[in-house]
Symmetry: C2
Subunit: 331 residues, 2 copies
């Protein structure tokens, strides 16, 4: 239908004019983003779905945006930060568990063997979490995460992990919310590892965090009901299970999705398969100096098939080195 | 600490004065509620947690209210409405399944044996759902629910099921939201049975609906990703599993919870066990004429232990016959 395409192009040009004017007026909602195709695609998308006279208009209740966390909202190197948390917990408790010296993945932790650990993936991570936290209540676990975050520092950047978040993405989250979007995290990381801090750091409340989880059980302790964390996996929120997690928690399809690795491919495909205008965006880690540079040969945050899909389907790709003025928030 | 009690009482009297004044001024936020202890407890609670100068103040982000659905927001007689939906689906498909004539719970459905069906509970209901819907996609299921709701009518009241909702509870939902609360459904009913209509009927979006579910699987059909519903139970959101569902989906403890049966007891206890001011409310079905009258001897919506707990702990109890001016919205 060439007529519709012409019309879409015309509307696109009109919207682009609006966007350019807004920026010229000095009201850049994404000040840490250099002018780039990725930034333009975001501004055009938001303008199109929020303008009631646009053919692409989406009512506010349906403006659902989902974000991967590790590598998309904060760094994930040298290994997932939750793994560094689990490592610290294992070391703390090792004296009480002599068998850990000979059992993986604990052996790898105690020997600082990061490669073996990385290879164990999210499942290995959850094994560590379960071993170090089974029997704890959800509240106790939340305290231990918050406690760790106040003291632990990133090995290379020497700053708290909650300051290893991406400033351009914080601006994007705020920009989307200011335009009526509801922002969700959809991460392979532990749901209870993220919830204690996502509201303060990202402005994303616990009820909008989806992640991997272990099973819990209601028990009475000292006459009070508590939820005890069990050493049993409930859900791994990765790859083909991300759309399942989205459906389970949100119950409708996002119109925008943001990721950085092959683990996000199905979430982006699921988002793309809906009707109407969509925004799919991948973050490509290209900045070895200010952050890290990695893609298809990386054990953590491997980006291969998702990049292929992005190029084939004309999804947006952020080149961190060239597209972002700053990486982390200023001190 | 008698001093604190005196102070609380003093604040209570001040707030009651405010509430009475508001009502005298003609701005009754709950016009379908007669003056009663239950209504007063709601007004006092909301005034206390929303007044920044009150010792009971709760910031908006933590104003989480959870509602059971069947028997709390809409009727549940003669049987759960989802069961009536499943029954209609079984009858529709019976010709293709001759074995159903001799297999429970299908036999009960085809013979209109409501007692056997009721005894099968939420699990029996889910069996029917699974048998009639396995292989369908989540979108197809959503359509079939919406389709049924446009044509099916309640056997006794001869009105659509979406008009079998309680007018006083609609007012309560609106009142809470107007005061910064986020309202959630926490129901033993199917999550995908509720989501297609809760936003229009209750103002509760799909992402704030928690319920029982069957497992799903991501598949490609005609080159498009779909979520296929599997004949396997994922989660039964009832009794001791309600706090688990709340933790899984919301990640924080409600400060107000509303139910009507023993299936809601643990949700109310979980809510009550948090710090600070709380509101726990039970709806007692006492109106055989305008709705139904049942409690401890009922197979559906059995109210026995939860009522004991309410009396013991001074939770609020609605006497439907005396406390509600109307039951259903006017035509």
């Amino acid at each position: 239908m060439p007529k519709k395409n012409h019309f879409s192009k015309f509307v696109g040009i009109l919207l682009l004019g609006f966007v350019v004017k807004t920026c010229l007026a000095g009201i850049d909602p994404l000040p840490s983003w250099n002018e780039s195709p990725a930034k333009q695609s975001i501004l055009l998308f938001v303008a199109a779905v929020t303008d009631p006279s646009s053919p692409d208009y989406v009512p506010p209740t349906e403006r659902i945006a989902t974000f991967d966390n590790d590598g998309t909202l904060w760094s994930e190197r040298p290994v997932y930060f939750q793994l560094l948390f689990a490592i610290d917990q294992v070391k703390k408790l090792a004296a009480q568990h002599p068998d850990w010296q000979e059992t993986q993945p604990f052996k790898a932790v105690l020997e600082n063997d990061m490669d073996s650990l990385a290879a164990s993936g999210h499942e290995g991570l959850l094994q560590l979490i379960m071993a170090t936290h089974a029997g704890n209540t959800t509240e106790e676990f939340s305290y231990s995460v918050k406690d760790w975050l106040t003291t632990a520092k990133h090995p290379r950047f020497k700053r708290p992990y909650t300051e290893m978040v991406f400033q351009p993405m914080l601006e994007l989250l705020n920009y989307l919310r200011a335009n009526g979007f509801k922002t969700f995290i959809v991460s392979g990381g532990g749901i209870e590892f993220m919830r204690p801090w996502t509201e303060v750091v990202y402005g994303i409340p616990p009820e909008q965090v989806i992640g991997s989880s272990i099973k819990t059980k209601l028990e009475l302790r000292n006459g009070k009901p508590v939820l005890v964390r069990l050493a049993k996996i409930n859900f791994i929120d990765d790859k083909a299970d991300k759309p399942i997690g989205i459906n389970q928690h949100i119950g409708r399809r996002p119109i925008a999705a943001f990721g950085n690795s092959d683990g996000d491919l199905e979430m982006l495909q699921w988002t793309a398969a809906g009707d109407g205008k969509r925004l799919m965006l991948l973050i490509h880690h290209t900045d070895a100096e200010r952050e890290y540079a990695y893609d298809k040969n990386s054990a953590i945050g491997k980006l291969d098939k998702a990049m292929e899909a992005a190029l084939k389907n004309d999804w947006s790709v952020v080149d961190m080195k060239n597209d972002w003025k700053v990486i982390y928030p200023e001190d």
